[in-house]
């Protein structure tokens, strides 16, 4: 069971540790700075944190001592846009900016690929480092795909890659999630890409485009480590599941109190089990009836349990962002954090929760330190 967890917030990075008396906040780093994402790399036992300084841009930092000290490393940089560049399939007649807006996802490469890190960004570029983040290169096959130019922003002004699932059996098999651009797959380490298969439905599109795989808004994509072909998606207008590595998707219907939300966590060993944090749908975005709940399915989405023990059940308006829910490598410990600065931890697979804080800055991401990613 994981003993450490990192919480990226609008005002810094906070490290939670489990001592003899339970979980507590052990360290604050980057106080006052907008820390948008954190990644633990179990291969090197390093941490990567992303800061968005606003005026000065997006910067990345790495720690090799558990967060005690940090060093600024390279940030992904888009190549120079050719002066004569003409987009092949521009959305609304425009091409995307070739400029880093946000680092939105980070994932270690395979266990046999030390130093390899994948990085998804706004406005839609996927970067790869082979030296632990000292340098990055844009994945051109995906960036140069004409279908990529049809991606559009969901919530943000630019499209972005928020989810990266590296197949533990084969690190060349990578599945990514894009808002809005659906799910994309490579089986050759990024040399070629294809959009995922059918089954997702986009209510926000005109009828003739609702089932276009490239127009979907998966809010978050999660993969079962023991069965990497089993995927869950918390989508803008529902929950979807794939059992064939994104070749097809099935909608999970009738989810109460809501099928809307951002976060999903997949059980590392059981492909039938996943957790979601529902909210009133898109134009409202707060917990139904002011009650914070976690939805858990243990039968592949046929049924859901609404977990409430230890969570506020009146006048709670906490929204949980897509990277703000995590499960450890055992499937027993879970953590999630909210826009109103609450953090809850469970050590019994979500049956009960304890409040770690209710006054942190808005939480963007939580990540356990795991022995394996």
């Amino acid at each position: 069971m994981s003993q450490r967890c990192h919480v990226a917030t609008r005002k810094g990075l906070f490290t939670l540790e489990r001592g003899r008396s339970g979980w507590s906040i052990a360290r604050a780093s980057f106080c006052g700075d907008n820390c948008t994402l954190v990644m633990h790399d179990p291969r090197e036992n390093t941490l990567l944190a992303t800061l968005n300084h606003g005026h000065f841009g997006v910067k990345m930092h790495r720690s090799a001592d558990g967060g005690a000290t940090w060093k600024e490393i390279a940030s992904p940089k888009y190549p120079e846009k050719p002066a004569d560049y003409v987009p092949k399939a521009p959305l609304e007649g425009k091409s995307a900016d070739w400029s880093l807006k946000l680092v939105w996802s980070l994932a270690p490469g395979g266990a046999n690929e030390p130093g390899v890190i994948w990085c998804g960004t706004l406005p839609g570029g996927l970067f790869r480092s082979e030296d632990g983040g000292d340098s990055w290169s844009l994945n051109r096959p995906l960036w140069d795909d004409p279908l990529r130019e049809q991606w559009f922003g969901g919530g943000a002004d630019h499209p972005g890659i928020h989810s990266i699932c590296v197949d533990p059996r084969d690190p060349d098999h990578v599945i990514i999630g894009i808002s809005c651009g659906g799910v994309w797959i490579t089986r050759d380490g990024g040399h070629s890409w294809s959009v995922g298969g059918p089954g997702m439905r986009a209510e926000f599109m005109p009828p003739e485009r609702q089932f276009d795989p490239n127009a979907q808004d998966p809010h978050m994509l999660a993969q079962c480590r023991a069965n990497p072909d089993a995927l869950w998606v918390q989508h803008h207008n529902g929950i979807f599941r794939s059992l064939d590595a994104a070749a097809s998707w099935a909608e999970i219907e009738g989810v109460k109190p809501s099928a809307f939300g951002f976060a999903v966590a997949a059980h590392p060993a059981d492909p039938e089990t996943a957790w979601f944090v529902p909210a009133v749908k898109d134009e409202k975005r707060y917990p139904a009836e002011g009650r914070v709940v976690v939805n858990r399915t243990r039968d592949g989405g046929k049924t859901f349990e609404i977990l409430t023990r230890g969570l506020p059940q009146e006048h709670a308006y906490d929204l949980v962002y897509r990277h703000a829910l995590d499960v450890d490598e055992t499937g027993e410990s879970l953590v999630f954090g909210s826009t109103t600065g609450s953090v809850w931890i469970s050590e019994d697979s979500g049956d009960s929760w304890q409040t770690l804080s209710s006054h942190l800055p808005p939480v963007y991401a939580v990540r356990f330190e795991k022995a394996i990613d």
């Binding site: 700075d33 968005n52 300084h53 005026h55 000065f56 841009g57 190549p79 120079e80 070739w98 400029s99």
Partner: protein, 113 residues
């Protein structure tokens, strides 16, 4: 080459051989991220003077310019107290006696609010 903060050049240089070149100064707010002391650097445009600065201080480049070499959206550049016209090309001319100030625009602060 004017690599000394203004007034800090050795007296002999200052008195006999100093060639006046533009002074480049940075907002105090950038200093905790990357040290950016004021420097006198040659250049007939804002772009030329900044390029000289970033040759000496490469880390500062990405704090001021974006991936495409444009001034970051919420940075502002003044020459002798007047905001520049060409934010993309940074082609505004600078006289040898000019002072170039790089400051944060008051817009764009919401990511840290």
């Amino acid at each position: 080459m004017g690599l000394f903060p203004r007034g800090a050049a050795p007296p002999m240089l200052r008195i006999k051989y100093r060639i006046t070149v533009p002074l480049v100064r940075f907002t105090q707010n950038i200093q905790r991220h990357v040290g950016c002391p004021p420097l006198e650097l040659p250049g007939s445009t804002v772009r030329e003077a900044l390029n000289q600065y970033f040759l000496l201080n490469e880390r500062a480049r990405a704090y001021v310019l974006d991936d495409q070499g444009k001034l970051r959206q919420h940075m502002a550049v003044f020459v002798n107290g007047k905001q520049i016209d060409d934010r993309e090309g940074l082609s505004d001319p600078v006289a040898a006696s000019a002072t170039i100030d790089l400051v944060q625009a008051l817009s764009g602060g919401n990511s840290n609010s």
